[in-house]
C-alpha cells in the first residue's frame, strides 16, 4: 500500500446520498481476478446513461477528490469499489457518513476517507461547483481539509492514521504477534468445529 501524507487536487461534487458499491462498480466487473484495471467499471451506469453526470463533465474529468452525500459505499463488501476509485484517479473520498466495510476497505487499499459534517460538505460542494479548478488539500498529518480561505479539521483514529502515513501492511503488523495467536489457539475448546469433511 502506498503511504498517504497529504494530497492536493481538484474535487468533484457527487450530490447523491446512499451511493452503494453496486453503483461504484457493478457486479459484472467483479469477475476479474486481477487487483488493478477497474477504472472502466467506475460509476459506469451513470457515466453511460447520464450525459451530464458529474464525472462526464470535462471540468471534473481530472478530479482526484470525490465529495459525496451521506452513506457512501453502502451494500456489497466488494473492495473492487475502492480499487476502481483508485484506478480512476481518486485518492480521497469525503462524505458525512461512510458504510463501515467500505471505510475499512479504504484503509487497506490506501484510499483516504474523510468524514465531514453535512454543512461542511454542502459548503465544499458550493465552492467546487463555483470553481471546478479550485485546489483542495487533504492533509492527513495535520488532519485538515483546506480550500480557498477555508480550513476544516477532520478526525481519524490515530492507529489508522499512523498506518496510512507509513503505508504499512496489516498482515505484517499482525505477524509480529504470532505468539499471542498461538497462545490463544491453545485455549480454544476442542468441540469448536473444523471445516474438514465431516463424514
Amino acid at each position: 500500500m502506498d503511504a498517504f501524507t497529504t494530497h492536493t487536487g481538484t474535487a468533484a461534487p457527487l450530490r447523491r446520498t446512499n451511493v452503494d458499491t453496486d453503483q461504484i462498480i457493478p457486479a459484472e466487473y467483479l469477475k476479474r481476478i486481477t487487483r488493478t484495471g477497474f477504472e472502466d467499471g467506475l460509476f459506469v451506469a451513470w457515466r453511460t446513461n447520464e450525459p451530464d453526470f458529474v464525472l462526464n463533465r470535462p471540468e471534473y474529468a481530472n478530479a482526484s477528490i470525490l465529495v459525496a452525500g451521506p452513506d457512501f459505499g453502502t451494500g456489497s463488501s466488494r473492495e473492487h469499489a475502492n480499487w476502481a476509485l483508485l484506478d480512476g484517479g481518486f485518492r480521497v473520498v469525503i462524505s458525512p457518513r461512510f458504510a463501515d466495510i467500505f471505510r475499512n476497505n479504504s484503509t487497506k487499499a490506501g484510499l483516504l476517507t474523510v468524514v465531514l459534517p453535512e454543512a461542511e460538505v454542502e459548503a465544499l460542494w458550493a465552492a467546487i461547483e463555483a470553481d471546478p479548478a479550485l485546489p483542495v488539500t487533504v492533509d492527513l498529518q495535520a488532519e485538515q481539509v483546506t480550500y480557498g480561505d477555508t480550513t476544516v479539521p477532520f478526525q481519524i483514529d490515530p492507529y489508522t492514521r499512523w498506518r496510512l502515513l507509513e503505508g504499512l501492511d496489516d498482515v505484517g503488523l499482525t505477524e509480529r504477534h504470532l505468539d499471542d495467536i498461538e497462545a490463544f489457539e491453545a485455549t480454544r475448546p476442542s468441540w469448536k468445529p473444523t471445516a474438514l469433511p465431516a463424514r
Binding site: 451494500g75 463488501s77 463501515d100 466495510i101 495467536i181
Partner: protein, 468 residues
Amino acid sequence: MPKTLAEKVYDAHVVRSTEGEPDLLYIDLHLVHEVTSPQAFDGLRAAGRTVRRPDLTMATEDHNVPTLDILKPIADPVSRAQVEALRRNTAEFGIRLAPMGDRDQGIVHVIGPQLGLTQPGMTIVCGDSHTSTHGAFGALAFGIGTSEVEHVLATQTLPQYKPKQMAVTVDGELPPGVSAKDIILAVIAQIGTGGGQGYVIEYRGSAIEKLSMEARMTICNMSIEAGAKAGLIAPDQTTFDFLKGRPHAPQGADWDAAVASWSTLRTDEDAVFDAEVHLDASALTPFVTWGTNPGQGLPIDGRVPDPAEFTDEGDRRAAEQALEYMGLTPGTPLREIEVDTVFLGSCTNGRIEDLRVAAELLRGKRIDASTRMLVVPGSVAVKAQAETEGLDRVFTEAGAEWRGAGCSMCLGMNPDQLKPGERSASTSNRNFQGRQGKGGRTHLVSPAVAAATALTGRLTAPADLIGA
C-alpha cells in the same frame, strides 16, 4: 461488568488488546467464495505466505454459477476463469471446496448453517456483506473486503474495534401472512440505511424468540442493509434443535459441553445498549420497497410517495432519483405496480421454509400469464429437500421455473438477469440500480408476497388472495 451477547462473543475472541491499537480478534470460521478471494490468494503467494488454518476455512462456488446446465462448463469465459481460479487456489492451499455439482454446494450463507459449521458464540467472516446471516445462531459474523480476506487467510485473525451495541426489540404476535422479511424491511425503513452504522444489532423480544432459524437468518442477513456491522440473536432451544445432528455439530459429550457454553450466550439483565429500537409485530403488514435503496420501503397498503413530502433535501433528491429510475409516479397504490419477473431465492430467502411458504400459496394454481417466476434454491441440499417434498412440481405446475442452486438473480453475475426496464418482485436483499441486471427495477418482498405477486402479476399481499 454486565455485557451484551455481542460483547461476550467479542471479548471471548480477543487475542491481544493494547491501548491505542485495534484489538486482534480470532476468527473461528472463514468462508470463502470465488468473487472476493482471487486477489487475496495472489497476495499470499506474492508475500510467500501460507493459509494459517485451512481447517477453519471453507470455500464454495455461488455468485457466478449458472442455475441451468450446471454440470456443463460455465459458458461465460470470465465467470469460468474466476471459478477455476478458486479451484486452483483451494487445491494449492489445502482448503475444502464445495464445487458446482457437489452435494454441499450452495450460497455460502446457506451452506454454513446447513452443515452445522455455523454455531453459537463463534466469530465468522467472509468476503461478503451478507455474512451477518450467521448471527442468527448467536455468532458474531460480519462481511469483510478482499484485503481482510488475505489477512484472515494468513493469520486467522483481524484487527478490530469493538462495535457499539444496538437492541432492536420486536414484541407481539405477527399477523398471518407477515414474516421475518417484513420485520427487517420495516426495521430498515425506520432506522435508515445508515442507522446501524458502527453498531452490532441484537434482535430480541417475544416476536423474535418465536421465529424459526430460517426466519432468524432472514432478519440477521439484512442487518447490513441497515448499515450495521452485524446482527445477532441469542441462541435458545430452537437454535440447539436446528444444530443437533448436523454434520459438523458437536456429538456426545462434546454436544453437552457445547450446549452448556452456548446457554451462557445471553445479554446480561443490566447490560446497557448504546441505542434501542422497538417494533410492535402485531402492527406490521407485508412490506415492499418502492425505491433504489432498502430503506425506501412501505407497507403494501401504501402509495408511491411524493418526493416533495420529504423534508430532508438529501432524502428528497434520493426519492426523485429513485422514482425516475423505477419509472413510478407519486400517488400510485403499491398494489397497482405490475411486475415482469418474480425471483424467489438468495441468501435472504432461499431456504427450505421460504420455498414451502411460496409453494403453499401456488399449489394447484397458475401464475399470471405475462409473469415469469424463477425459483432458485439456496443450496443443493435445499433443492434436494424441496424435491423430496414435491415442491418442485408445485412450482413447475404453477408455471414457475425450477433452477439449480446459487446466488442467481440477486445480483446477476450469472445469466439470470433482468433486461433494461424490466421490473421484479424479488425476495433478495438489494433494490440498488442495476443490481439484478442493467436497467432492471427491483421491489424487495417476502416469499409470501412474491408468490402472491406471481399469481396476479401485480404487487400483492397473500391476504389479498383470499376470496379472489
